[in-house]
């Protein structure tokens, strides 16, 4: 059953708005712009709930990815590059509850903290600033290949940390 139900949206908003807003704010650094992205993400979900495939992952992760992409696009004043329908995210923790999220946040920060600094910063530049590997390479003066490798192994390190439980 997919009848319109504002209170269902309100429920989802109450659960996930802080993640969405936090990601948007981190990327954009501007509360007004972050709020716009927040609005846009939930409106998109409202208009097209079928875009999220519950069987494949968690809504929270999906929202985080969508938000980050939208925010990056806004940051770069690009037109949205990915249709939200194309995004499929598989991740184990749903992290809907604030407590779980705080724990996860701490854990991720811990993992990031123990990464080699160049790896961490490449990851963060790509993720929160949407910089391409060539942009990172020119900014850091590192070879392209190195940047690619860092980003990939950074992601895998995060994955391992959460797979272990």
């Amino acid at each position: 059953m997919r009848s319109g139900d504002q209170s269902a949206l309100a429920e989802l908003y109450d659960r996930y708005s802080s993640v969405v807003y936090a990601v948007a704010l981190r990327v954009l650094g501007d509360t007004g712009a972050a709020e716009d992205v927040l609005q846009e993400v939930f409106l998109q979900l409202w208009r097209n709930p079928g875009a999220f495939d519950a069987a494949r992952g968690s809504l929270g992760a999906w929202l985080a990815v969508i938000t980050r992409n939208r925010a990056i696009d806004a940051l770069r004043r690009r037109r949205p590059e990915t249709d939200i329908e194309d995004v499929i995210v598989s991740v184990a923790p749903d992290l809907a509850a604030q407590a779980d999220r705080s724990r996860a946040a701490e854990k991720v920060r811990g993992v990031l903290g123990s990464m080699p600094a160049p790896q961490r910063s490449a990851l963060e530049m790509a993720y929160f600033e949407g910089m391409s590997h060539s942009e990172i390479a020119s900014k850091t003066g590192e070879p392209l290949g190195t940047i690619k490798t860092r980003i990939r192994s950074g992601l895998l390190t995060l994955r391992k940390a959460f797979q272990g439980g």
Partner: protein, 266 residues
């Protein structure tokens, strides 16, 4: 395999939406044909999402919530209930349409209280139900009996016999309704004279051949009325007539003369 390795790093960048140019074109071509890589892409996006979770910041401003709800109120309504439910939201979200929306969360509490009192009532009802069940069993038997009575009287296949006194007033009368194939017999009598103690009337089914068959013993009430309902009868006995005699109140297996009343089928 080599191809996958080549793409492995590009895949990570692509997952973060930062792969550009020719690399991207090539990867997208590859992804169109490679489900392994598509799956890995999903995983990488998930890993990236973990980075998103590392951000902890201020909550969005209060007004943002209302702003959103106002915006959706203006739009046509696709559905989220199922989404929220799949996501593990509490069952309260799995709702009927505008009921929840209109009432809002304050009403949710009222509904929960109402539900709780219904639950208590329900427990009492369950008790009643089990009592009723045992009564029901008994009633089923009675219902069946009533049905049999009704069908003897109303079934067009049933035969009727009217019995009138052979001699002298007052005019006792009897009617027998007999449904042969089901051995249902209903007999009603009026104006039957009172009998001495230890005596009773006995009804007899007179078959086409053979001896009269006992069809019930009865005593009239103060008004002279009596009924006999479904006495045990041999299956399918064909009734040429019915008759009444006076017997000892324990009944007899063969009629004692004289026959007081008799009637043949109408």
């Amino acid at each position: 395999m080599t191809e996958h390795e080549q793409f492995a790093e590009d895949l990570a960048l692509y997952a973060l939406s930062v792969l550009e140019g020719e690399d991207r074109v090539q990867l997208e071509k590859h992804l169109a044909n490679c489900s392994t890589c598509r799956v890995e892409l999903e995983h990488l996006r998930g890993d990236g999402a973990l980075l998103a979770f590392s951000t902890v910041g201020p909550r969005p401003p209060q007004r943002a919530r209302q702003r959103l709800l106002d915006a959706v109120a203006k739009e046509a309504a696709p559905a989220l209930s199922q989404k929220a439910r799949k996501d593990g939201a509490p069952d309260v979200v799995r709702t009927r349409r505008s009921w929840w929306g209109v009432l809002g969360w304050a009403a949710t509490a009222a509904v929960l209280v109402f539900t709780a009192s219904l639950w208590k009532e329900n427990a009492a009802l369950r008790q009643d139900v089990s009592t009723l069940r045992s009564l029901f069993g008994q009633q089923t038997v009675e219902l069946e009996q009533a049905r049999n009575v009704a069908s003897a009287i109303t079934n067009p296949g049933g035969e009727r016999f009217t019995l009138v006194a052979v001699k002298a007033p007052p005019q006792p009368q009897g009617k027998a309704f007999y449904l042969r194939n089901r051995s249902n017999l209903v007999f009603v009598a009026n104006n039957m004279p009172a009998l001495p103690p230890q005596k009773a009337y006995e009804l007899w089914l007179i078959p086409a051949q053979g001896a009269p068959i006992p069809a019930g013993v009865f005593k009239p009430d103060a008004h002279g009325s009596a009924t006999v309902v479904n006495p045990p009868l041999p299956a399918g006995a064909e009734a040429k007539a019915f008759a009444i005699t006076v017997e000892n109140e324990t009944g007899a297996t063969a009629p004692t003369m004289p026959i007081l009343m008799m009637g043949t089928g109408e």
